[in-house]
C-alpha cells in the first residue's frame, strides 16, 4: 500500500526547523495529503511552508481521512520529540496510522508509543535507526564511478537540495546518476540511504564507504553532505563522511545572508575561500579532490540580488555558481560532466 502522509509541523515552519516537511513535500508531493499545524489550519501548504501548492494545512488528523501515516516533519538539533506533540502522535497511532520519524529519540524506544502501536497495529518507523558496525576498508571502489559530494560552511542550508537537483539534472542529460542520501530527509525522499549522523562514530567512515560501494554501479553518484567541517557541533560527522565517500569532486554550498554558525550566533562563518581551501585539503589526504562549483541558497533574496551574488562568487572563486532552485542546476551539472571527462570516468 503506498504511503499517504500527513506531515506534522505544528508550530515549526521556517526552512530550518521544518526542513524535513518542506523537502518531502518538494520532492515527493505525490505521497503527501496534508500538513498538520493547529495554528495555521485553513492555509495552503504553499502559504505556510513555501512549497506544496494547494496541499491543505489541517488542525486535526481526522481532517485528512485519506492519510495512512503521520510523518514527524522536523529535525531539531539533538533530535528530541517536542513534548506537546506526544498527544498528536498517540492519537495518530490510536487511529491506526503508521508514524514515521527521523528523530534521534526513537519512537520504538518509547514505551507509551510502543504500547499504543501494539494495540492499534500501527507501525513505528525510525528512519535514523541503523546497525552499522563495520570500519572502512578503503578498497574496492569501482574506478569508473564518479563521486560528487556536497559540502558547506554551515549546517542546514541546502546541501540535500543541491544534491537532489544535480543528480536529477544529470539524469535529464542521459547520465546514469544517483542521489545518495545520508540523512533522514534524503532517505525519505530517495527510499534508501544511511542516517550517517546516527552511526556510532567509529563506523561513520565505514558506513559512508558502504553507501558508495552499494551505488558504484552508477556512472555518477552525488553523495549528500551532512553538517560542516566548520560547525563545532557536527564536524566529526562531516569529516568521517567526507573521508568515507572518498569524493572526486565537491560542490560547495552556502546560504546568502548567513553570517554566523546556525544556532551559534556568536561564532562567525569563515570566508568561502578559506572554507573551500580547507575542504580541498581535507578531502585530498588520500587522493586529489577539488571544489568544482558553488551552490548558492538565495531563498531570502530577490532574483536581482541572487544574480549579483552569483556574479560576485563566480569572479571571486573562479567557479561555476548557481541557486539550483532559482536557476536550475545546469551550471553545476556541466561542472560534473567536465570533471567526468577530465578524469576519464
Amino acid at each position: 500500500m503506498p504511503r499517504r502522509l500527513i506531515i506534522l509541523t505544528d508550530g515549526y515552519h521556517d526552512s530550518h526547523t521544518a526542513k524535513t516537511a518542506i523537502n518531502v513535500i518538494r520532492y515527493k508531493p505525490e505521497d503527501v495529503v496534508a500538513v498538520l499545524d493547529r495554528q495555521a489550519a485553513g492555509k495552503t501548504c504553499q502559504e505556510l511552508l513555501g512549497v506544496g501548492g494547494n496541499l491543505p494545512v489541517v488542525a486535526r488528523i481526522e481532517d485528512a481521512p485519506q492519510a495512512n501515516a503521520l510523518l514527524i516533519g522536523i529535525a531539531p538539533p539533538g533530535g528530541k520529540i517536542p513534548p506537546p506533540w506526544r498527544p498528536i502522535v498517540l492519537e495518530a497511532i490510536a487511529r491506526g496510522l503508521d508514524v514515521i520519524s527521523g528523530l534521534h529519540d526513537f519512537l520504538g524506544d518509547d514505551p507509551e508509543f510502543v504500547a499504543a502501536a501494539r494495540k492499534s497495529g500501527a507501525k513505528l518507523v525510525d528512519v535514523r535507526k541503523n546497525d552499522e558496525h563495520d570500519v572502512a576498508q578503503c578498497q574496492g571502489i569501482r574506478e569508473g564511478c564518479l563521486r560528487i559530494h556536497t559540502v558547506a560552511n554551515d549546517c542546514s542550508l541546502g546541501k540535500m537540495v543541491a544534491s537532489v537537483e544535480v543528480a536529477r539534472g544529470l539524469s535529464r542529460r542521459g547520465v546514469d546518476a544517483k542521489f545518495v542520501a545520508t540523512g533522514q530527509t534524503g532517505i525519505l525522499i530517495e527510499g534508501d540511504g544511511c542516517p550517517i549522523d546516527r552511526v556510532i562514530s567509529d563506523f561513520v567512515n565505514g558506513a559512508a564507504e558502504k553507501l558508495v560501494l552499494a551505488n558504484q554501479h552508477h556512472e555518477v553518484i552525488v553523495v549528500e553532505g551532512q553538517g560542516s567541517l566548520f560547525h563545532p557541533r557536527y564536524s566529526g560527522v562531516t569529516f568521517g563522511l567526507l573521508h568515507g565517500c572518498a569524493p572526486d569532486g565537491l560542490i560547495l554550498c552556502y546560504e546568502m545572508g548567513r553570517t554566523t554558525i546556525y544556532g551559534m550566533e556568536w561564532i562567525p562563518l569563515a570566508p568561502l575561500d578559506w572554507v573551500r581551501r580547507f575542504y580541498e585539503e581535507a578531502a585530498s589526504i588520500r587522493h586529489p579532490c577539488r571544489v568544482i562549483g558553488v551552490a548558492i541558497n538565495g531563498g531570502k533574496f530577490s532574483d536581482a540580488e541572487v544574480d549579483a551574488e552569483r556574479d560576485r562568487v563566480r569572479t571571486w572563486l573562479g567557479l561555476p555558481a548557481c541557486d539550483v532552485l532559482r536557476h536550475g542546476p545546469d551550471e553545476l551539472v556541466d561542472a560534473v560532466l567536465d570533471l567526468k571527462r577530465q578524469l576519464k570516468k
Copy 2:
C-alpha cells in the same frame, strides 16, 4: 572490593593488538595478578609483553586463584570478541569472576554471557557502553583551564601513553593536571572518561566537550587523542574529538619506522610537517591552536637511533621532542608550561 585482574591476551602480544593489556599493566600494575595466554604460560609478563616484570603468564583461570575479574586485553579494529575466547570468558563467568571488556560488541548484548552471569552472579562490564545524547554547546569552558590534546599521523602508536606521561609529569612539577581518557584503555587506567569512538557520531563533539567541562576545574587537562585525521577509518572520531575538546595546544605523536597507515599498508603515511600543518589548521577553525611538541614512539629502535631521530625532528620541525618512555616527558612538560605562561592561564 578492589579489582584483582587476570588479563586475557591469548595469542595476542604485540604493542598494537595487546595495547589494552600492556597499558593497564604499565599504569595499574597493582590491579593485575596474571596474564592468561595458553601458548605462553610459564613466561613472565615482561618476557611476553615487555611490561609487568615478574607478573606471571598462566594457561588457566584456576592458576590465578586470587583473581576476581577477567579483563579482555585486546582492542581489535571493529571490536569483536575472537570466537576461540568464548569458552574462556564463559569459564570465567561460571567461576564468578566479573568480566570487563572494551570491545564494541558488548558482553551485555550476548545472550549466552548474560545467562551465565545471571547464574553465577558475575558482573559484565562494558567499558565502551555510553548514553551520550547531547550536542556540543561551545560555551562555558573555563578560560583558565589549559587544554592539551594528543594527535597523530596514525592510530595505535602511543597517544594515550604520551597523555598519561605528560599529565603525570605535570603533577610531579606541582601542577594540578588531569589525564582525560577518551578510550577504553585510558578509562580502565584513570577510572573515568568517555569511550568517544563508541558515541553516536552526532554527539561526538558534545561528548568531548562534556569531558572538558567535567574536568575544567584542573589547571591543565591532557585529553587523550583517538585515531588520526589521516586514518581513513577513524578520521571522523578524531575530528569530532579535536573540535569538541577545543584544545589550546597539541602534542604530535608518531612511531619511528612506521611508513604506512596501520592495517592499510597500501596507504603511505603523510610527512610530519604536513600532518602538523593540517592539525593546526583543523584545530584553529574556532580559536588559535598549535603543535607545541612531538612525542616519538621509538619502541622498536635502540637508544642511539632514537636519540638521532630526536635531534632530526627537533631541527626539522623546530619543536621539543622526546620518547616519553625512554627520555621521560620533561621536554613536553616544559612546552606545556611555556604555553600556559604565554596564554596567561
